[in-house]
């Protein structure tokens, strides 16, 4: 049984880590971009960003004044049991969000869409979002918090099979140029692309591709992995760098996730995870051990499964 206090405590630590400590994989990616950037203004911006991450860690201060919209991704092993059940879990995730908003502090960004009511704690109707997934084995719970920023770095379009890869490339470039002008989406970013599903599923896939995969990670389908490499290059050849200044650092990495869709369509979404690519992860084991990391390791073979049954477990494959 995983204690609910441990979950709340861990969740509060994660909120702070996400806001303050840039994940290593993104930092390395940004350093590599800074090494090859030769636009003078673009270069200056990247150096300032690198200093900013240091300042944030030294001062224990949020890396960006817009601390984004905190959300939670929760994953459980099949044997995980939570003290108090799912209701207690959701309560402490909301509590941790509110407490961290006051204590870090974070900016109270969340308001009612019409009445602009602000509880000053990033909690409200549907906020923070909490999404779930499960894995076939384990008595652990993984808590992932993502503090996604940016009002300008997301788009969706219904494409069709006849649009093909050329059409996908076109919408990808359209999106990047639109996000990137004047740097509104704060590039260089991790770009996530969702393909297929339905409109809502496509948005979810693309967002997860941007926020839940680390820089350098490749899709397990080799042809999609190849597209990811090619799209990263393509984005960096636009001629636009940080803040939309002339340069070549637009995309730190590109991740593509797919879902089966209606036979007539090919939905596509594009998401930019900005200069403040904030994510933090912890696994709480059944015996109470807590391990912190920055790789959500979200897209396992199980999450991308294509089959009716899940036959990989030896015990199950025998009976199959």
């Amino acid at each position: 049984m995983i204690s609910i206090d441990a979950i709340q405590k861990t969740a509060e630590t994660l909120m702070e880590k996400a806001a303050i400590e840039i994940p290593e994989d993104y930092l390395d990616g940004l350093k590599a971009a800074a090494d090859v950037e030769d636009g003078d203004l673009s270069s200056f911006v990247l150096q300032a960003m690198l200093e900013n991450y240091e300042a944030a860690k030294q001062d224990r201060r949020a890396m960006c004044g817009d601390t984004g919209c905190p959300r939670w991704y929760v994953k459980m092993g099949n044997e995980a049991r939570i003290e108090g059940g799912p209701i207690a879990l959701e309560t402490v995730l909301r509590r941790a969000t509110a407490n961290a908003t006051r204590n870090v502090p974070l900016r109270p960004n969340r308001v009612h869409p019409l009445w602009r009511t602000d509880h000053d704690n990033n909690v409200g109707i549907g906020a923070p979002e909490i999404e779930y997934a499960f894995e076939p084995e384990g008595d652990w719970i993984d808590l992932v918090t993502v503090h996604k920023g940016g009002l300008f770095g997301t788009d969706y379009r219904m494409l069709f099979p006849s649009d093909g890869i050329a059409g996908i490339k076109r919408f990808y470039l359209d999106s990047l140029v639109a996000f990137g002008k004047r740097g509104l989406a704060c590039q260089p970013a991790i770009i996530g692309i969702g393909l297929g599903g339905s409109k809502d599923a496509c948005m979810v896939l693309g967002k997860r591709a941007a926020c839940l995969r680390t820089v350098g990670n490749r899709n397990s389908d080799p042809r999609i992995a190849e597209m990811e490499r090619e799209f990263k290059e393509l984005g960096n050849s636009i001629g636009m760098g940080a803040m939309g200044f002339v340069g070549k650092s637009m995309v730190i990495d590109c991740h593509i996730e797919v879902g089966y869709c209606h036979t007539g369509g090919m939905q596509m979404s594009v998401h930019a995870f900005c200069l403040s690519s904030r994510r933090a992860v912890a696994r709480i084991h059944g015996d109470g051990r807590v391990e912190y990391r920055t790789d959500p390791n979200w897209f396992t073979d199980y999450q991308r499964r294509e089959t009716v049954e899940w036959n990989v477990l030896p015990s199950l494959s025998k009976s199959a």
């Binding site: 960003m49 991450y53 960006c64 004044g65 069709f160 050329a166 002008k181 509104l184 393509l234 200044f245």
Partner: protein, 226 residues
């Protein structure tokens, strides 16, 4: 490999003289000293549409308006804790900026993404103001370091923490980039023009979507299929 040339760096008062501003070129880097106030749609609507009097004397106290809401908290005794500060996108404030510059006497508008050179020529130039953009834009921690003290907060109850008017004391706060000069030239527009010249080449081999989106142009008779 060859390192890019470093832009020029200047320290500037938040109550600058016209000569100070005349010396700045677009693309210069600026660090600010003095008092800065935040103000965005909430403040603009109150003052310009609601005709509320300003809660402090402007521009005597400060001529620097920051489009920003800080990550900050105020405890029960009114003590303010400032974390990081980051600008918000300024283009949304275009409809208020002319009146605001006249009423506030602001000479520095600080924000994210700049405004159009049309706004600069129409509103900034006649009022002797320039636009400074934050860098990155995520350099909130660096900017937070430049804030020596949060002096005051006005209309906190009425507008909430994010929209309230914060008065902050800055020391060597930056970096900011000079986006517009006293003639109304825009750095972003200069850079956009250079980037656009390259786009034809990048787009080679792609093709437009088979189904267009209604509303992308103002021509309501457009066919959507191609």
């Amino acid at each position: 490999m060859e390192r890019a040339s470093k832009p020029k760096q200047i320290r500037l008062s938040t109550k600058p003289t016209r000569e100070d501003l005349a010396a700045l070129k677009i693309g210069d880097i600026v660090y600010l000293d003095g008092l800065i106030y935040t103000g965005r749609e909430g403040v603009y609507m109150r003052v310009l549409e609601g005709k509320e009097p300003l809660p402090l004397s402007l521009p005597e106290e400060s001529a620097a308006n920051f489009h920003c809401s800080p990550a900050a908290t105020v405890d029960q005794d009114g003590n303010i804790t400032m974390g990081a500060v980051t600008a918000t996108a300024s283009f949304r404030f275009s409809k208020w900026i002319g009146d605001w510059l006249r009423i506030s006497g602001a000479m520095l508008i600080i924000g994210k993404g700049g405004m159009t050179s049309h706004d600069y020529k129409e509103h900034f130039v006649p009022n002797g103001a320039i636009y400074l953009t934050t860098v990155g834009y995520g350099t909130g921690a660096l900017l937070g370091r430049g804030i020596k003290r949060a002096r005051d907060i006005y209309w906190r109850k009425e507008l909430g923490l994010a929209q309230a008017m914060w008065l902050i004391g800055a020391e060597n706060m930056g970096p900011f980039i000079v986006e517009s000069d006293l003639e109304g030239n825009s750095l972003f527009e200069r850079e956009n023009a250079k980037v656009s010249a390259n786009l034809e080449r990048v787009y080679a081999g792609t093709k437009p979507a088979v189904l267009k989106r209604f509303g992308e142009t103002d021509d309501r008779s457009d066919e959507l299929i191609s």
